[in-house]
């Protein structure tokens, strides 16, 4: 496709795509008087967020080492999902954000979800998961200093990220199940998911406490040996 080769055309695409997508979203909202419009709108809006987020990173260049370390974390996270009873994905996303920075954290979160969904099934929910997990990695990078220093901060972040991700995905659950996004329905599904949220948050904390010290040492060694 010729648009990709030309630099200007590429920039035009980058600007136009979100605009077009927003237009489509609004259009959908306009004509659909009933039904699953909210699900569609949610997907489109998140897709937009994702594109805006990711295209913002290129101008702020991520060094090759950070990028590859990010890819290493994504691969470990995805490979970790294959070990039965072992799902260290969120913990690894948080750790990568803590040690390689906010941008890489988002990248790792989004890519980990996208690629593990290639094996476990992509769907309309993928963009939502990508943004959710990306944000977890992003904020782990933003708060990297306290997270690296204090265990308690790490525990709190583990719980919060579990609760956040679960509640974030409940938006999708509500939309896809009831076709609308009423606050009461949403709260109902949040309540229904409470046991899962609790298990998820606790497992997050456990994985973080187990994985953070060794990765802290390993990355510290890499940093000293190669400079980062």
């Amino acid at each position: 496709m010729t648009v990709i080769e030309n630099k200007n055309a590429r920039n035009v695409i980058r600007v136009l795509t979100p605009v077009i997508l927003t237009a489509v979203a609004v259009l959908c909202a306009l004509f659909a008087s009933d039904g699953r419009k909210y699900a569609v709108i949610t997907v489109i809006v998140t897709l937009l967020t994702l594109i805006l987020f990711l295209s913002g990173f290129d101008s702020k260049r991520i060094g090759s080492r950070r990028l590859v370390l990010g890819a290493v974390f994504v691969t470990l996270a995805v490979a970790g999902r294959f070990i039965p009873q072992l799902k260290p994905l969120t913990a690894l996303v948080i750790i990568s954000g803590m040690f390689t920075g906010a941008e890489t954290g988002f990248l790792v979160g989004a890519a980990a979800v996208l690629i593990s969904n290639i094996f476990f099934g992509n769907g309309p929910w993928t963009p939502l998961q990508m943004v959710g997990m990306g944000l977890i990695g992003f904020f782990a990078g933003v708060f990297s200093k306290p997270l690296q220093k204090k265990k308690i901060a790490l525990i709190i972040y583990g719980v919060l990220s579990g609760v956040f991700y679960s509640m974030f995905m409940d938006i999708w659950t509500t939309c896809s199940a009831t076709g609308s996004l009423l606050l009461s329905d949403y709260l109902k599904s949040v309540a229904a998911a409470l046991p899962f949220t609790a298990i998820y948050s606790v497992s997050n904390v456990i994985y973080l406490l187990l994985l953070e010290p060794p990765f802290h040492r390993k990355l510290g060694r890499i940093r000293e040996k190669y400079g980062l």
Partner: protein, 290 residues
């Protein structure tokens, strides 16, 4: 799906997005049935050896059963479980939802099958080169890591380390393998990064060359696709195309506009299959001429 696989990735993306979005928006059993029929055909054409749709069927069944039990809406009770009615409306709504979800799952299965890593890169690159590169690197690393993990585990066994036994023992052993794998991965990652740096990564703006052209048939498909989307969407501004479930079932008024929208949608949904078959016939014809 030889033709559909070889066409420009953005066109396939547009197809899958528009079909899933429209079928979800209309929420109409007629539309859903058409989508499900096409999705099933495509799934059968795409699926590899040994892959069954059993998982999808379970999801279908689950959605179908759960909605009538939970939903108390609807005017026509069929039977009562205790004091809770199971209504016809909720049953139909559940059937529609279940079919819709199954159709979406089939469609996304085909999408994943059609979109290989190269196409994914191609679609991601204009938006974020670093994200695309990350995805490419991960796809390259993944088989390496799996192999390395197996090797580490076997080497440990061969050196007399016992992995089996009680659950804590097994977890500790698993952690040990994972830790060794991570050390190896991080260390090698630096070499990979250096190799990128050596070849000029980060010296300026990256360009991206792709192997995907834009054939004439791609253009025809795209044009038809856009026209059909418009044909399916525009009539619904003037007449209702959505099916109402609650309180009572109500099919939208069947008029010229609705028929236009429905038939455009049906054509859109089956468009890849139509092109696929046309292409097949064309090749038969081409070959018979040789």
């Amino acid at each position: 799906m030889i033709w559909f696989k070889s066409c420009n990735p953005y066109i396939t993306l547009l197809y899958f997005l528009s079909v899933t979005a429209l079928s979800a928006v209309y929420n109409n059993p007629l539309y859903t049935a058409v989508t499900l029929a096409s999705a099933l055909c495509m799934f059968i054409m795409c699926r590899g050896r040994g892959k069954t749709a059993f998982g999808f069927f379970m999801i279908f069944l689950l959605t179908f059963i759960v909605n009538p039990i939970i939903s108390k809406k609807g005017a026509t009770p069929l039977i009562f479980i205790g004091s809770d009615p199971i209504t016809l409306e909720a049953l139909i709504y559940g059937l529609n939802s279940a079919s819709l979800i199954a159709a979406v799952l089939f469609l996304f299965y085909c999408f994943t099958d059609i979109t290989d890593s190269e196409k994914l890169m191609y679609m991601l690159s204009p938006f974020s080169a670093s994200f695309a590169l990350t995805v490419s690197a991960v796809l390259r690393f993944f088989p390496l890591y799996v192999r390395q993990a197996e090797q580490i585990s076997e080497q440990q066994t061969a050196a007399g380390v016992r992995g089996g036994g009680s659950i804590p023992e097994r977890v500790r052993y698993g952690g040990r393998i994972f830790s060794a794998l991570s050390t190896w991965a991080l260390e090698n990652g630096i070499v990979t990064a250096d190799s990128m740096e050596c070849r000029g990564y980060g010296t300026g703006r990256r360009s991206f060359y792709s192997a995907y052209g834009f054939k004439k048939s791609d253009g025809v498909f795209l044009l038809t696709e856009i026209l059909l989307i418009a044909g399916a969407v525009i009539p619904s501004f003037f007449t209702s195309c959505t099916y109402e479930y609650y309180p009572g079932l109500r099919f939208p008024e069947v008029n010229a506009l609705f028929i236009t929208s429905a038939s455009c949608y049906a054509l859109l949904v089956f468009l890849p299959l139509i092109f696929e078959i046309t292409d097949k016939i064309k090749w038969k014809f081409l070959l018979s001429k040789i």
